[in-house]
Each structure stands twice: as structure tokens, then as C-alpha cells.
Amino acid sequence: MNMTMFLIIAGMAIVTYIPRMLPLVFMDVEKIPNWFQAILRNVPYAALGALIFPGVLTVHENTWFGISGAITAIIVGYLGANLIIVVMSSIAMLMLLSWLF
């Protein structure tokens, strides 16, 4: 491995690890004000919304593939199916679409 690549990987590893580790290890939950705890409890659902959209529109060069996959996941997920079934159904829907179009 050449020196530059070693530096790049080591540097990337450090700057990726630190934001993941710092709050988890060093944040004292007792000392977090209530209003901030309430906001932190909202973060997972807000982050999911942001992680899904608009990214889902770009999974395929045809926007409708992403939309169809998302709708499949919403329907199958709403019916209460297991996570893996939801994932597999969406993949199957895109396979079907790519055969059809």
C-alpha cells in the first residue's frame, strides 16, 4: 500500500469514527436538558424521513422505479410484514419492472 493511500484510509477512518463515538461514550444523559432529550427522541423518525426522500427517487435512472419500490414497501410494510419480506418485495417489484420496461 503506498503512503498516500495509507494516509487517506487512516484519516477517513478517524474522521468517520469520531462523530459516531463521541456523543455515545462521553455524553452524560443525566445532564441533557429535558427539551433536548425530547428532540433526540424525535431524531430517528426525522432522520428516516430525510434518509428516504429525495434519495429514493434516484435508485434507478427511471424515477418511477424508485417510486414504485417505495410504494411497494409502504403497502407491504403497512400490512405488517416482516422487514425482510418488505425488502424482498421491493426488490421483486423492481425486477418485474425491469423485465417489463
Partner: protein, 235 residues
Amino acid sequence: MATTAISHQKSSFSQGLLAGISIAIGYLPAALTFGLLAKSTGLTFAETLAMSLFVFAGAAQYMALNLIAIGTGAFEIIFTTFIVNIRHLLMSASVRERVEDDHPIIKAVYSFGITDEVFAVTTTQEGKIKSGFVAGVALIAYCSWVINSGIGYYVGSILPTSLQESMAIALYAMFIALLMPSLKKHRKVAALAISAAVFNSLLSLFLPSGWSIIGATILASAGIEILTKKGGHSK
């Protein structure tokens, strides 16, 4: 969920491994593609594997390949990685608020594995999150990422293109599936997810995606909190 935990008495670690299978499936095409791209960018097998082993960050690794390909310097690549991954500060803080208390070294170890997807699977669980559970989810996700990066380097084109393209939906489908159970129970969840999606769509027009996700998440989390407090029906 609580009933299955009681009836099966499975360890939280093996429950985590099970819960992480969807991530492992979702990482498969992304990691294969990373391996393939790394090879075409001119990285050696060891460099490709080392990046997945030590960095474990999908978007940042793709971005690094792009920057390496156009001859960007090491500092710029590291700085870009930092900017892309700074969103994990917020996710890690949110995990901290929900996770059981444990030895700092244990937390320092499993915090390495808190990717977007591991964060999403662990924090949408009900109740306190066990360290073993996070470790299980993170481990299976990590194995899938590292092993498939390696496979991708040599046989990236092993899967038919139509399947690879179709599997790109996997992680999004998982995110949607993670939202559904809470969405049915609490109207607030829908408000949070939808407003964050709208904010992210707007912010991503003029911000890099990492900052846009942070901005949208903060605006939605704080905004909805203020609105529900004013409405007087905070849960």
C-alpha cells in the same frame, strides 16, 4: 416485540444479528459495486478491503473513490469524509439517549458500527436498547460490507445488471419498513418523517447531502417538538 423477547429468550446479540439481516442484504449490491469501482479506480485489493474494514461508511467511500480518480489530495478527501459523516454526531447522540448504560469501552467498540442503517434499525426498537443488540446488528452489517467489498473487487459483475439495479431499492425499502409500525401508532412519527423529507428536498437543492440530512433532521425534530408542545398533547 416485547412478547417475542420473553417467549424466545434469545440473547439480545442474536436478536441483533437477526434484525440486521435486512441491512446485510441491502449492503450486498452497494458493497459489490464499491469493490468493482475501487478496482477500476486503481486501488489494490488490500486498499479496497482496508477502506471497508477501517472506514465502514458507504457514501464516504464512494465519494473518496471519485476524488481519488480525479487526483484530489489526501487532506481534501479526509475533510470531505468528515463533512459527509458529521451527521452521525446527531445519530450517536440519539442512540446514547436510548441505549442501556454500559462500560465506556464497550460503547466505544460498538459505536464504530453506527452507520445510518444500524442507527435506524436500533433506534426504532421499543424501549431501552441493549448493547448486545446494537453489536449484533452492527456486526452482521459490517461483515456483509467488508466481505462483499472483497467479492466485488474480483467478481463485481457476477450479478446480472437488472438484479444489481433492483437491489438498490433494498435500503430504502428497509427504512420505510422501519417507519411503518411506529407510523401506525403515533401520528407524530408521520409528521416527523414527512417534514424531514420535505426539508431535505429543499435543503439538498443548495447544500451537500450530509449537511442537508443534518439540517432537515434538526429542523423537523425541533420544529415538531415545539408544535406538539404548543398543541399541549406531548406524549
